[in-house]
């Protein structure tokens, strides 16, 4: 009710100031999305005598919605800007207002006080460093086809995945001071958010707060200090059973040395985590301090925009940083599309596969910072399942990249040669080898055409091995795509993704208390997941488009063909940003 009143107030303010276009302005998004889906395969129609056909679950479906996000921004002066995003949504099949609903998607107040201190209150998007607060990509997709990027952009928008920031609720403030001698700039930043609300019974409030002080000595040297603290506020429940507190302190440096055609940079970050888990039961208490460091050197040849970076990092086994290690995706989530297969009592949940990971808007994405390491499936990312801050990793990473999106070619190649710092359950260490890279070739520049012809290809291969309690897991992700502008603004787009994984792993089951690793989940994989997609896109403008696509996806389990199925989807989407 209060939110509705506030929104009405905003509209009234806007109406009163309608002649002053600088005080109130609108932005937003409109989208219409329709899918028509079909599932088939041995998982539903087994071909052996006596096996039961799935006659419980549907094989086809149609769904979609129209949404209109209206952002109202009222800025009466420099000190205050109020922003509210109202969503009107109509699910497919609920026309004429029936089935429509209204909700507030986000609200924020921000402004500048005294021309010095910036502040934000409400729904915020925050990030710090890859080891303190960072929303990392769960899987390599730097060179995926445009046709998949379109699907992914819808998912990112719905889940507030804007770059590598986390959507949180709280308060953020920053200030910067400029100097003429000694140092150029001194910056301060502080934030406080509440990822979890108390139930006043057994679940206390959980707070995440932190900040940064950075000093820019000159364009050649920067240093920063970061702090993040994730903790439960014990006084918000009647009885304090567990006292949890996780602090992270880091320092980062950046040194730059530039010549006419060359540029060298030294980049590094190091720090420690301080983890406290206190309970009545002494046996399960855990108090740990663990460190990390990450140091890299890069050289760039500016005329070609060619850059080579070599870095070494070590993250100790119990380094804990919830803001940096929380995953944005739940690998074990059930798919929304055709969520179950098989007749009772043998009904099985259909786990989200590659197709669902790039297209499922809700139910698979995690939007809340988690106090401990989340479970994951190794075929999607086994080297850095928790981002750069993945604990128990040490080794070298070499990256070479060149070009840019507006150049003839953009290319990148990265090699990870990493190992564990300490064995999990055995004295032997896992060894990780990762190779990833790809290119986008703007072929039209080669041909001298104005119409776009872009070819992209990418690959990510991971190898995990261990000698004792043997592990051998190989997974490869292939990406290919083509975009051809046949008429002005009209593109034919196509793409292919293939993920193969074979081998075994023993995944640790992490707990917050003293055991740290409570158990191991044995996984044997021999699977393939693929998506082949093609379609068209008409670009009305830079921010508006219509697309019609066909997606043909499949899951193959080479160890049990009765898990195999295919999914086909026709996808229509009109999106307009304003």
């Amino acid at each position: 009710m209060i939110r509705k009143l506030v929104f009405i107030a905003f509209v009234l303010i806007g109406t009163n100031h309608v002649l002053n276009a600088q005080t109130v302005y609108f932005n937003g998004l409109g989208r219409a999305l329709v899918t028509n889906d079909k599932i088939a395969g041995l998982a539903l129609d087994p071909d052996t005598v006596g096996a039961q056909t799935d006659n419980t679950n549907p094989r086809r479906g149609t769904g979609g919605y129209t949404i209109f996000d209206l952002g109202v921004n009222a800025q009466p002066n420099e000190m205050l800007r109020a922003h509210a995003l109202l969503r009107i949504q109509n699910e497919f099949g609920g026309f004429y207002g029936d089935g429509s609903f209204l909700l507030f998607r986000q609200m924020r107040l921000d402004g500048v006080l005294g021309k010095l201190v910036k502040y934000e209150i409400g729904d915020l998007d925050l990030a710090l460093t890859p080891y303190t607060l960072y929303n990392f990509e769960e899987m390599y997709n730097d060179f995926e086809a445009d046709i998949f990027a379109i699907r992914r952009s819808v998912v990112h928008y719905e889940n507030f995945n804007f770059g590598n920031k986390w959507r949180v609720q709280g308060f953020n403030t920053s200030a910067a001071f400029q100097y003429e001698k000694g140092i150029e700039r001194l910056g301060f930043r502080a934030f406080a958010t509440r990822p979890r609300r108390t139930d006043f019974l057994a679940t206390p409030d959980r707070i995440f707060m932190g900040g940064r002080v950075d000093v820019k000595q000159s364009k050649f040297f920067n240093v920063g200090i970061n702090y993040a603290n994730f903790f439960d506020v014990m006084s918000t429940v009647a009885t304090e059973i567990v006292n949890y507190n996780n602090k992270v302190y880091t320092a980062d440096v950046a040194g730059t040395y530039e010549l006419e055609k060359l540029k060298f940079q030294l980049l590094g970050e190091a720090g420690m985590s301080d983890y406290r888990f206190d309970t009545m039961d002494v046996e399960v208490r855990r108090n740990e301090n663990n460190i990390f460091y990450d140091l890299g050197l890069s050289g760039e040849y500016k005329p070609l925009k060619a850059r080579l970076t070599v870095s070494y990092r070590e993250v100790q086994p119990m380094f804990s940083s919830p803001g940096a290690q929380t995953r944005r995706i739940n690998d074990f989530a059930q798919a929304n599309l055709f969520p179950t297969m098989g007749n009772a009592p043998l009904t099985m949940d259909r786990r989200a596969i590659l197709m669902d990971r790039i297209s499922q808007e809700h139910g698979i994405r995690n939007l809340t910072l988690q106090p401990m390491l989340m479970p994951f499936l190794p075929q999607y990312n086994n080297i850095t399942p928790f981002g750069m801050a993945t604990p128990n990793r040490r080794g070298v990473t070499v990256t070479a990249n060149g070009g840019g999106d507006e150049e003839l070619i953009r290319t990148s190649a990265t090699i990870d040669l990493l190992s564990e710092v300490q064995g999990e359950g055995v004295a032997s260490l896992r060894e990780f080898t990762g190779i990833r890279g790809g290119f986008v070739l703007n072929a039209h520049k080669l041909l001298g055409w104005e119409s776009i012809i872009a070819i992209n290809a990418g690959i990510r291969h991971e190898s995990t091995t261990r000698e004792l309690s043997p592990i051998n897991l190989q997974s490869t992700l292939y990406d290919a795509g083509l975009t051809v502008e046949v008429l002005k603004g009209l593109d034919l787009i196509g793409g292919y993704k293939l993920l193969t994984a074979r081998g075994n792993e023993f995944l640790a089951v992490y707990v917050m208390d003293g055991a740290f690793i409570d158990d191991y989940m044995e996984i044997n994989i021999d699977t393939k997941e693929h998506i082949l997609a093609f379609g068209g896109r008409y670009r009305f403008s830079k921010n508006s488009y219509f697309t019609l696509q066909g997606h043909f996806a499949g899951f193959t389990n080479n160890e049990n063909r009765f898990n195999n199925y295919t999914m086909n989807q026709a996808f229509l989407n009109y999106t307009m940003l304003f």
Binding site: T239, E424, V426, S469, F516, Y520
Partner: protein, 365 residues
């Protein structure tokens, strides 16, 4: 800034960074560590076998009120094993795991406790599966539960029978409401209901045994209070179980079935006899209370420390004593359903209330 100061700045930056790196390398290399982190993991080697393919749980029928199930097997190699116990009626589960070259019945035992929410039940069959890391070998045995484990060793179980080793929770052959329990006189059977409740289906089954308890009704008097019942602690029970004096070491634990309901509350009241006498006098002694809500969904265990209870506000109903929390003087325990806000229908379902001493209830022990 000239070229030489640029170089000087960069050199200084390099020196600082390299020094930091060396320091960190030294620290990390000197850091004390064990061979590995987490529990030990030894996978089945080639040629592994279980002697005589034999895995046994004995006895076949166990009374967990006084006995334990013991497991035995001999392995060809040292390996990480797991025994998964699954109650075929209750759905309760327990995992026992370890790394060794055999299951020694003197040490690998199960006392009837459980992981997760649900308790094992009397007269149910439990499937015991022995598996090994890194292999597909599975051996199976079964155990019949004659009597389920009692948790009274952790404190005082608020059961519906005063005999020390009988039923816990709201089980038992019948629900005895005279002497031991009594229903609030305002609890009118026509419009409000108190019942031992087997609940509706597998998904909503009681967390322990066959019965949970439900208090439901409508606050038609607009007074917040709907109704409840009281469990008296008998002299025999007081003599058998000595309650601590320190309120910091006494915990009230109860499983509540939440329906996402913002209105239903359960008032849990510990009624003391401040004069040390045999019974609580509501107009002369203290009652210390806690109000649970049911905003969650499904079963959930809640634990509250006695020292975090608040004194009853009404001087005629538990607010007239010495205002000192004395758990060793508790004489009765009351459960009352409350409508907050008032004038609403409420339904409070709960199970297995237990007062523990020293720490919160731990069903895994």
């Amino acid at each position: 800034m000239n070229k030489y100061s640029i170089q000087s700045n960069f050199k200084n930056g390099i020196l600082v960074s390299v020094s930091l790196l060396i320091a960190l390398l030294l620290v990390s290399s000197c850091a004390k560590r064990t061979d590995f982190i987490g529990s030990e993991l030894v996978t089945m080697p080639e040629g592994f076998f279980v002697a005589d393919n034999s895995f046994s749980a004995s006895p076949d029928r166990v009374n967990f009120e006084r006995d334990k199930a013991k497991f035995s097997a001999e392995f060809s190699h040292r390996v990480t094993w797991r025994i998964k116990l699954q109650g075929l009626t209750s759905g309760a589960n327990k995992v026992i795991k370890g790394t060794s070259d055999k299951l020694d019945p003197d040490s690998i035992q199960w006392n009837g406790s459980h992981d997760g929410l649900y308790f094992f039940m009397r007269d149910e069959k439990v499937l015991a599966e022995l598996t090994f890391m890194g292999g597909n070998l599975t051996l199976i045995d079964t155990i019949d539960v004659l009597r389920a484990k009692l948790y009274g060793n952790q404190g005082f179980s608020v059961s519906n029978d005063s005999r020390p080793t009988t039923f816990e929770g709201f089980e038992g052959a019948s629900f005895n409401i005279s002497g031991l329990f009594w229903l609030d006189p305002y609890f009118d059977g026509r419009r409000e209901m108190a019942e031992r409740d087997p609940m509706l289906n597998d998904k909503d089954k009681p967390v322990q045994g066959e019965y949970a308890f439900t208090l439901s009704g409508t606050d038609i008097t607009n007074s917040y209070f709907v109704g409840g019942f009281k469990r008296n602690i008998t002299a025999m029970e007081r003599n058998a179980i000595k309650w601590p004096e320190d309120p910091d070491s006494v915990y009230i634990n109860i499983y509540l079935y939440g329906r996402g309901d913002g209105v239903t509350k359960l008032n849990f009241s510990m009624e003391e006899a401040d004069d040390g006498g045999p019974s609580h006098r509501e107009d002369r002694h203290d009652a210390f209370e806690f109000q649970f809500n049911f905003e969650h969904t499904g079963w959930k265990l809640f634990s509250v420390r006695y020292s975090d209870l608040t004194r009853a506000a009404n001087p005629d109903y538990g607010g007239s004593g010495n205002n000192v929390k004395e758990p060793n003087k508790v004489r009765s325990i009351a459960f009352n359903a409350i409508s907050s806000p008032p004038n609403n229908y409420v339904k409070a379902t709960f199970d297995f209330p237990i007062i523990t001493f020293g720490k919160p209830f731990n069903p895994r022990e």
